[in-house]
Amino acid sequence: MEEIEFKIAPESKIKKKPSYIKPWLGLKYLFKKPVTIKIPHEKTQIAKKYRGFHTLDWKKCVGCNFCGQICPARAIEMTWLEVDGKMEKRPHPKIDYGRCTFCQFCVDVCPTGALRFIESFILTSEWEEDTIQLFDWVPIHPEKFRKLQESYNDWRFPVEKIEFNKETKEVVYHLRDGEVFKFKILGYGIRPPKKQKGGTDSKPD
């Protein structure tokens, strides 16, 4: 193997002034406040317009699917819902946080201002069946979300548990303050779902 030459820094280039005081100057850092904060005993400051979870005003949403078309991560699926036995006239976006990049382009394009965002951002899961459901939801009303955020002030997800019944397609949101919110998923896509009980000619997809 050929010899490899190494350059070593000449002594003249190196500043080597021995000092007996300088090492002690480091002591001044003992009297400074640490930059780290003790979570959860201290709180982080979150910017007012931090791009966090979505909120949706179900009354305002016209189901135009702009949000679904712009989404770069394809996290939005339009969903037909039924609340209290009444079908919503238009589909609403269902957002999958497993895919979402929190870019909020969907919020920018929403023509009616139904889809908004809030600064809450902590979504934790124990990776169990019922906590995983939290990652895929139709957002709740902004005022409700704001109220929950203000009362807890810890930037957590407002829903503790989402129950999804695979047979009846019923979804139950258990909000953090104990409120229960129920609706039923009728179908997916931009077209309204076919009535299943109506005619005999309806074919399953």
Partner: protein, 391 residues
Amino acid sequence: MVAQSELIKEARENGMDLLPLDKDTYELFFGPQHMATENFSIILKMDGHRVVEAIANPGFLHRGFEKLAEFRPWHTNVALLLRVCVPESDVPETIYSMAVDEIIGWEVPERAQWIRTTVLEMARVSSYLFWIMGLSFKLGVYTAGQWAAAYRERLMALFEQLTGARVYHIYTIPGGVRRDIPSDRWLHQLKDTVEYIKSKLPDFDHLVFENYITFKRMEGIGVMNKKFALSEGVTGPNLRATGVPYDVRRADPYLLYPELDFEVPVLNEGDALARALIRRFELEQDLYILEQLLDMGPPSGPYQVSDPRLKNLPRFKVPAGDAFSHVESTKGDFGAYVVSDGKNKPYRVQIRGPSIAHGIRVLEHLLVGSRIADVPVILMSLDNCPPDIDR
């Protein structure tokens, strides 16, 4: 004992290639778990503690950005392409937006230009601080690294207020920026932060850049000469450390840079130390540029072009054409070539990243003959960005 030829045959059948076995050398897999390599791996052929041959082994972060960009509406590509360079995600955003602006022929408002320049410089400062963190960890000066991380945090908080996110800002879009400056308070905070970081530079000098140990460890290793650097297409601080004063901000000025006053530091040694010092000098220049920008103040006016077509973003169409735009990032010359065929999605987006020039062949060349302990230092002095290599 299995014969060597049989081993090689078996490896080939399973889609692997073994280096020919040699009695005196051994193979060392350096990364991707190794902290110094950051999702990048090098296969080293070692003789004792000297590197005989180095083979870069990238690809752990491959996501196919350029192809994916062909399937997304124009504006949302920003949310994808910024992932090309994580520590300074504003650079890919800006080059893509500038190229699209050029195709459409949009005149970006002055306020947006000011904000874009400021964001780019903030990204440069935060990226250099991040690099100081990496370098000092590799040199074993952990204190300086933790300081750098703490100061960078201040910039991240400012980014959070301005853009709504800390790392992936998704802020610069074709036609301007997404949000206005939140308040005058933000400008004051930025000014304070710039002054604060500036006042802390001597601390870094004492600990890292004037340190006896740094000189001992970095001088004379990983030497790259001018001719080699130019033939490999190396840009940025790595090229300026070999004596070529090439800086995109000077050579092909964009945004507000023609109005700004700054120096382009150049050193002739071309070794790891020169590269580190260049970055240190540039950090100072960037803080100086930020000061000038703040003295200038943001011009009044809109922060986005007004165009009725922007009401319908998913179906927003860009006229057929192509454009190339590039900016100076902390890694080098970062460029994007965008082709449109008149649809609501790009026909082709090509990214010219700086890291591929100095992260594969140059790295392999520089590592030969170095000691194992110098491998992280050389790697860090080149400052490559693995997601940019893999793309």
